[in-house]
């Protein structure tokens, strides 16, 4: 029997729920010096003393995790059921309004609009990302400790999920390393406070680390010599809980003084053992001016591309720059993307080493999945990646089968990401929703009306299509003989693969004219 990690994450929901809201002036570095068990069980944000603000943030994230719904009345007077807390952008908007209404902001005016400003997008996004990732990663870890699951997937690989500007040397050193899930010392070292980590054996692996883990099955773990055939592992969640408890026992008087000074009545210390004081955490009903107002909106508008584009002001600007594209990409990223390990069924290649490691392939697939709603990704066929001798750079053979040119990428790995984004978009488009297919086909038909099929310049005489004003003529390719010959099969691929490019390059294309923007936005709408 094959086990996969189940969803939804009750463990993740419970993790958020059991946290105590703790307001404090402490900076991140000072929080990292506090006993691990207190940190692990606190919902806090560095330097934020407003318990009311933190409670509001916790409520939102709790609603987000549970997918809580509410009835809202739209402008047409019709009552509909919609998500109470639908997205990071909604979190940023609502919490910013709450912070402004509460008079929260940095003491130093120079810190305005920086990550030190609780009203800033960067700070609020950081809170949302860190809290949701922490809950989800705990959920994955806790589920991974299930006896049946740990037997089937006894190890995990430490992987880079996101390319970040400042990589921790210890993480770089251990990228791709596979260790047993029960190797607490190794996983705690990867998340050590000494390198800015959170002191847990699960992610996040420090602010902005870009690191993640993927499950490794028994067959591979045995091949790596990590576990013997038939050997049973003992889950270590209780061992970790013991370590947590130990961190708040037998505290020295100096630490007790620091806790009382930092948290006042929020912390209770008895016989040298500290815990959060539930009696001090009762929060009075917020004043009506501060009450969370849920904006009335139609459900389909909750996380629309139109809203993101409007909020970023992209269509109002004469030209946009790399920063605008970075912000757009950030908004397009899913808060809870599906893990590639849940989507990739197999990776087959003759010699996956050097520049072309399986880990690298999985990282690129994850980069792609980060833009795809997890429910949509989970509904598609599992992916089989094959690296071998093929005539093209890559091709999509249907039913999740993605072929890549092994020898080409062995010598030109820098072209892998864009190619893989291209092929995975075929997977998303061809196997995906009828609505997306219709939108693309309609756009293709309208844009190429009256055009005849001709060889596409630069692609050989056999490659034919309708040139139109696509940024690359290949987007107009038609496939004679196929039922979907003129369905615009290469429109989503060619435009979506641009998300793998440098933001400055994509900004030039965006600024090149309305034809590019129209198609690009139609393709991106398929993500919602």
């Amino acid at each position: 029997m094959q086990f996969v990690r189940p969803t939804p994450f009750n463990e993740a929901v419970e993790k958020i729920g059991e946290k105590s809201v703790i307001g404090s002036k402490l900076k991140s570095s000072e929080w990292s010096e506090m006993p691990l068990a207190l940190r692990d069980r606190a919902f806090f944000s560095a330097t934020i003393e407003s318990v009311r603000f933190l409670q509001e943030a916790k409520n939102f994230i709790g609603d987000f995790q549970t997918g809580a719904k509410e009835e809202v009345i739209g402008p047409d007077g019709i009552e509909r059921s919609g998500l109470k807390a639908g997205s990071r952008s909604q979190f940023v908007k609502e919490m910013r309004e709450f912070a402004v209404a509460s008079g929260l902001g940095p003491l130093n005016p120079d810190d305005e609009k920086t990550v030190k400003d609780i009203r800033s997008e960067s700070r609020l996004s950081l809170i949302f990302n860190t809290q949701t990732q922490a809950a989800n990663d705990f959920g994955y870890w806790k589920q991974g400790m299930d006896r049946d699951l740990i037997d089937e997937f006894p190890a995990q690989r430490f992987i880079r999920d996101l390319d970040v500007e400042v990589k921790r040397p210890l993480h770089v050193q251990n990228e791709g390393v596979v260790r047993l899930k029960t190797d607490l010392d190794f996983w705690l070292a990867m998340n050590s406070p000494l390198i800015g980590g959170f002191g847990t054996p699960f992610g996040p692996w420090g602010y902005g680390s870009g690191m993640g883990v993927e499950d490794v099955d028994r067959e591979e773990a045995e091949a790596l010599g990590l576990i013997k055939p038939g050997e049973k592992l003992q889950p270590v969640d209780k061992d970790f809980n013991e370590r947590l408890q130990a961190s708040v026992r037998n505290l020295d008087p100096e630490m007790i003084d620091r806790l009382r000074e930092s948290f006042g009545s929020q912390v209770h210390v008895e016989n040298g053992t500290a815990k959060w004081n539930p009696k001090s955490l009762a929060i009075p009903e917020p004043a009506s001016a501060l009450k969370r107002e849920v904006p009335i909106k139609l459900p389909e508008q909750a996380t629309s591309l139109d809203k993101i584009v409007e909020e970023l002001g992209l269509l109002k600007k004469e030209t946009i720059d790399a920063m605008d594209i970075r912000r757009l990409r950030e908004e397009l990223r899913e808060a809870n993307p599906v893990n590639q390990a849940q989507v990739i069924r197999s990776v087959v290649g003759s010699d996956l080493s050097g520049h072309l490691k399986e880990t690298e392939l999985r990282v690129v697939v994850q980069d792609f999945l980060n833009f795809i709603p997890s429910a949509k990704a989970a509904s598609l066929p599992k992916i089989d990646l094959f690296l071998g001798r093929i005539d093209s750079l890559g091709s999509y053979a249907g039913s999740g089968k993605v072929n890549l040119n092994y020898s080409y990428f062995k010598s030109h790995p820098e072209e892998l990401k864009r190619t893989l984004f291209h092929e995975l978009m075929h997977w998303f488009h061809i196997e995906g929703s009828a609505e997306f297919k219709t939108a693309i086909q309609t756009h293709f038909t309208e844009r190429t009306a009256g055009e005849s099929v001709k060889p596409l310049a630069g692609y050989g005489k056999k490659t034919k299509g309708k040139r139109d004003k696509w940024y690359d003529s290949y987007a107009g390719r038609v496939y004679p003989g196929r039922a979907d010959a003129e369905a615009g099969l290469e429109v989503p691929t060619r435009y979506f693969e641009l998300l793998a490019k440098e933001p400055a390059a994509l900004a030039e294309l965006w600024n090149s004219g309305p034809e590019f923007r129209e198609t690009f936005l139609i393709v991106l709408k398929g993500l919602f």
Binding site: T319, L393, Y408, E414, T419, H422, E423, D472, A505
Partner: protein
């Protein structure tokens, strides 16, 4: 190999040119610039043919210059 060339001709008679040769549309390749390069408001050291074309179209508009573009050859390989 697909080779593209773009020339911006300014009203004062000066010009700047960029040439790029690409094996595939999925890669970025070195761009060779010549002429009055200092007139360019921005440039890419490496690019694909499409972004280079967009860059020169945008620069032509911003600098009020004439754009002459040519394309020769074919890609050796591409993602299908």
């Amino acid at each position: 190999m697909l080779t593209v060339n773009h020339i911006l001709k300014f009203k004062d008679g000066r010009s700047v040119s960029a040439t790029l040769s690409a094996r595939s549309p999925q890669g970025d390749y070195p761009v060779e610039y010549s002429g009055d390069v200092s007139r360019l408001l921005r440039k890419f050291e490496k690019s694909d043919p499409f972004v280079l074309e967009a860059l020169f179209k945008n620069l032509a508009r911003e600098l009020n210059a004439e754009l002459i573009s040519t394309q020769n050859g074919e890609f050796d390989i591409f993602a299908e």
